[in-house]
């Protein structure tokens, strides 16, 4: 059987997200509870979580979460890490042994910052330096896989149902202002932990439900800009697209959404002159980054979360609000499970981004 990355595997999925605008740190227990009722939307072949604000004591440091298949992979990867980063901690990620989760790789995390000298020699800004480091390990060190690389955030994922994955990683022991979750329904059995979602690069993490039809057009375009799609999953390419547009091209997330889920030409034709010029420009400029086919994504980033549907809304996604709390999920039941009485519940339109950020003055 071919591993994820050797072959492209379509998947169906469940997603869920919880965000506290006030920055109140919520236990991971809530997100596990939220994703559990959508059990039937996954098939036990992948589950995962992204959490923001969980490492406040190391908030200034990059937190790398890494899977290792072998001792050799670990030694090789650590050689690269230690020669590029000033590490303040290296430890096993605590897990809970449960019968539902088996065959786990070695799971480690590292906290650190790039050496000043290494940064100067590379003549790169810090984030680009880190992104290239991640790309290097994931494409060049066999058996090592960096699956989380942001500051004060972390991804936790495994092969299994998401609620079991949550217990396995002891998420009830973490607290964060933003949580996203993913349950996967792949049509094939990769059995590889790296293939589970969320997919993350720097502090961007994406959970996604859908199967995009533009995949290879997107992949072949984005690979011109230093990205290497090793997993052949939608989530991976979507993460790179957002990183490219937002971090490298300095588009706002709204503008990035206007590229990814661009309005139809017929809609653009009906806009006022200024908007028409802008939307035409963006579609033309980044035409190969339009994503077609069904998707609902939750993008997590430092201080915020964006929910976005494909422009035809071919996947379900609802948003609920209660006080300063915002909930997004594939199904309403996932929201009601953790917050039965909502102030507001709505389905965002296709292509309409919902961007939720921390209140002004709240530090991520």
């Amino acid at each position: 059987m071919q591993k994820e990355g050797d072959v492209r595997i379509p998947s169906g999925c469940a997603i869920s997200g919880i965000f506290s605008r006030s920055g109140k740190r919520i236990s991971g227990e809530s997100i596990v509870r939220s994703i559990a009722p959508m059990h039937d939307r996954s098939n036990g072949l992948g589950g995962g979580f992204a959490a923001y604000g969980i490492y406040p004591k190391q908030r200034g440091l990059y937190a790398f979460h890494v899977f290792y298949d072998s001792v050799r992979a670990k030694a090789e990867c650590e050689k690269i890490i230690t020669s590029n980063f000033d590490l303040s901690a290296a430890e096993k990620i605590p897990t809970r042994r449960i019968p539902e989760i088996t065959d786990e790789p070695a799971i480690w995390r590292y906290f650190g910052l790039p050496f000043k000298k290494a940064l100067e020699d590379a003549a790169l800004d810090e984030r680009e330096f880190v992104a290239r480091f991640v790309m290097k390990v994931n494409t060049q060190v066999r058996g090592a896989y960096v699956f989380s690389s942001g500051k004060n955030m972390g991804v936790f994922k495994a092969v299994g149902f998401p609620e079991d994955v949550g217990r396995f990683y002891r998420l009830d022991e973490y607290e964060g202002y933003c949580w996203t979750a993913h349950g996967r329904y792949p049509t094939n059995t990769p059995g590889w932990w790296g293939g589970a979602h969320p997919f993350a690069l720097l502090d961007y993490s994406v959970v996604h439900n859908g199967e995009i039809s533009s995949y290879d057009a997107n992949r072949r375009f984005i690979e011109m800009f230093g990205y290497k799609c090793t997993l052949l999953t939608d989530t991976e390419v979507i993460t790179y697209i957002i990183d490219f547009l937002n971090r490298k091209k300095h588009l706002s997330l709204e503008e990035a959404a206007e590229v990814i889920a661009a309005p139809f030409w017929s809609e653009i034709g009906r806009m006022g002159e200024k908007d028409r010029a802008k939307y035409t420009y963006l579609r033309n400029m980044f035409s190969s980054l339009l994503i077609t086919g069904p998707f609902s994504i939750l993008l997590g980033y430092t201080g915020g979360m964006m929910a976005l549907n494909d422009r035809l809304k071919l996947r379900s996604m609802v948003v609920g609000e209660r006080g300063g709390m915002v909930y997004v999920a594939s199904e309403e039941c996932a929201i009601r499970e953790v917050e039965p009485s909502l102030d507001r519940l709505w389905s965002p339109k296709g292509g309409e981004p919902v961007i939720i950020t921390l209140n002004k003055g709240v530090e991520a």
Partner: protein
């Protein structure tokens, strides 16, 4: 000498019970195949002159005519077939190079027919173009590298280099006024305007009557520079530098003096009766750095308001050449495969020089991506695009749009008899004889071209919808939507696609 009697390729079969000797065939045939015998009140035919253009067959009111493959043959031989032997007789007779027209007709692989298209099942939905928007709008041209913002942070939209906007990613490829008739040009020009796409003047200049179609015209600058002047350059929406053409890579062109008459002479800006000879290379382009100078000369002449296309024939080293062109300031690269048509080309060159467009296109697209410059140039593929599936496959391999020439001529009535070089086109397309030209009615011609491209557009939308793609840009370069069948590893590798079943 009887050696020079060549077995005619086709035989004219006339059903005596149906023929009423109305002499329509005689009047319709510019090749003078048919004649009337008043004594017997019977039609006769001289099949040595027949090119099988089917004009007589199509117009015979009683359907009395059939043109069939001539059963008369030289002794059958796997190596020395009729055509091969006849060619030798002809050359031994005349000492000349053989002339031919239209695209390479030989049995080389047609890769389009070995590529299959994907469709959605279960895991993602197909999209019904009757119910949902299905977009085929395409822009051709360069893209700037950076987003610029104004004082208030708004995105500046005026830094885009000049572009072509195509409602459907199909354009009519270069065919000169001279090679084809006034009425054929008018049909193409009007159809391009109606369809929201472009036609191409070829190297014969732009007839003064057609300046009004300028916004849908690509004006060509070829090695002979016929008809090139400032107003001409500024009349079109884009300028195409023709380096080569798929039917005859590496050689120039020759429009005989007999065709340089009246308007054609004026449009080409050369005296009547002179031979219009386009040299093989542009004599101001002996290297890639010279090309850059011509590209920028043309941009200067048009105030940087027109995209510049550089058209090359698909030859062995096409990927590296295209990459050089992309760095020479060109906005668009047009690649013409070895099946591309022509009004006249030396037969051996047409049949033996160049490579298939499918492989050339795949190689160019991949190379430009490897070099990270695919986004700074658009690719137009042509030369053997026969139907909407070919268009779709070309785009999925990496083309932004396609050129069609032969298919457009067939829509106008061309029957691919492949004797354009004689100037006796019975369908009024590749001729300048007024009595023949008037057979092509531009109203009808335009309508048929619009029908053809609209039909293809519908089919493209259906296939895109089946794949769950609702915008053409998401198809461009989307090679995962293609699978090869019956191709070897090397072919799959060059095409960048997987085999069916993988």
């Amino acid at each position: 000498m009887p050696i020079n009697y060549n077995v005619p390729e086709y035989a004219v079969v006339r059903d005596p019970d149906r023929c009423i000797a109305c002499r329509v065939c005689e009047r319709q045939c510019a090749n003078e195949v048919h004649s009337y015998d008043p004594e017997l009140n019977k039609m006769r035919s001289d099949e040595t002159k027949c090119v099988n253009c089917h004009r007589c067959v199509a117009l015979c009111p009683t359907h009395a005519l059939k043109i069939v493959k001539n059963p008369d043959t030289f002794r059958i031989n796997g190596l020395w077939d009729n055509e091969t032997i006849s060619d030798i007789y002809r050359q031994a007779d005349t000492g000349g190079a053989l002339l031919s027209s239209m695209g390479n007709p030989k049995k080389y692989p047609i890769y389009w027919d070995k590529i299959l298209i994907n469709a959605s099942q279960v895991t993602n939905p197909s999209i019904d173009p009757l119910r949902e928007p299905m977009e085929t709008l395409t822009f051709l041209g360069k893209h700037p590298h950076t987003i610029e913002r104004g004082e208030n942070g708004e995105i500046k939209t005026d830094n885009l280099p000049p572009q072509l906007k195509l409602n459907v990613p199909i354009m009519f490829s270069a065919m000169s006024y001279g090679a084809i008739s006034y009425n054929a040009h008018e049909s193409l020009a009007r159809a391009a305007r109606e369809l929201g796409t472009y036609y191409n003047t070829g190297e014969g200049g732009l007839h003064e009557d057609f300046y009004k179609y300028g916004p849908n015209t690509i004006v060509q600058v070829a090695s002979g520079r016929f008809g090139v002047h400032k107003d001409y350059l500024n009349a079109g929406a884009a300028i195409e530098i023709k380096i080569g053409q798929g039917a005859k890579p590496g050689i120039g062109g020759h429009l005989t003096g007999a065709k340089i008459v009246g308007d054609i002479s004026r449009t080409r800006m050369i005296p009547e009766g002179t031979e219009a000879i386009s040299p093989a290379p542009h004599h101001d382009i002996y290297s890639i750095e010279d090309l850059r100078q011509l590209v920028y000369s043309l941009k200067e002449a048009t105030d940087y308001k027109k995209p510049v296309i550089v058209k090359i024939a698909a030859v062995h080293n096409v990927a590296a050449i295209a990459s050089g062109i992309a760095r020479s300031g060109a906005d668009i690269i047009a690649i013409d495969g070895f099946r591309g048509g022509t009004g006249a080309a030396p037969k051996r060159i047409r049949d033996n020089v160049g490579i298939p467009i499918e492989l050339a296109l795949a190689a160019v697209d991949e190379r430009l991506r490897q070099e990270k410059i695919r986004n700074s140039v658009s690719i137009v593929a042509g030369g053997g695009i026969r139907n909407s599936a070919d268009v779709l496959k070309a785009i999925a391999l990496g083309a932004d749009a396609v050129y069609i020439g032969t298919a457009a001529l067939i829509a106008l009535g061309c029957h691919l008899c492949r004797t354009c070089q004689t100037g006796r086109c019975n369908w009024g397309i590749a001729t300048q004889r007024p009595d023949l030209v008037k057979r092509l009615n531009p109203d009808v011609g335009c309508g048929r071209l619009v029908n053809l491209v609209s039909a293809w557009q519908h089919e493209i939308m259906e296939m895109m919808g089946g794949m769950g793609i609702n915008s053409i840009e998401s198809l461009r370069g989307n090679r995962l939507m293609l699978r090869g069948v019956g191709l070897n590893e090397k072919e799959l590798e060059i095409l960048g696609i997987k085999h069916a079943g993988e």
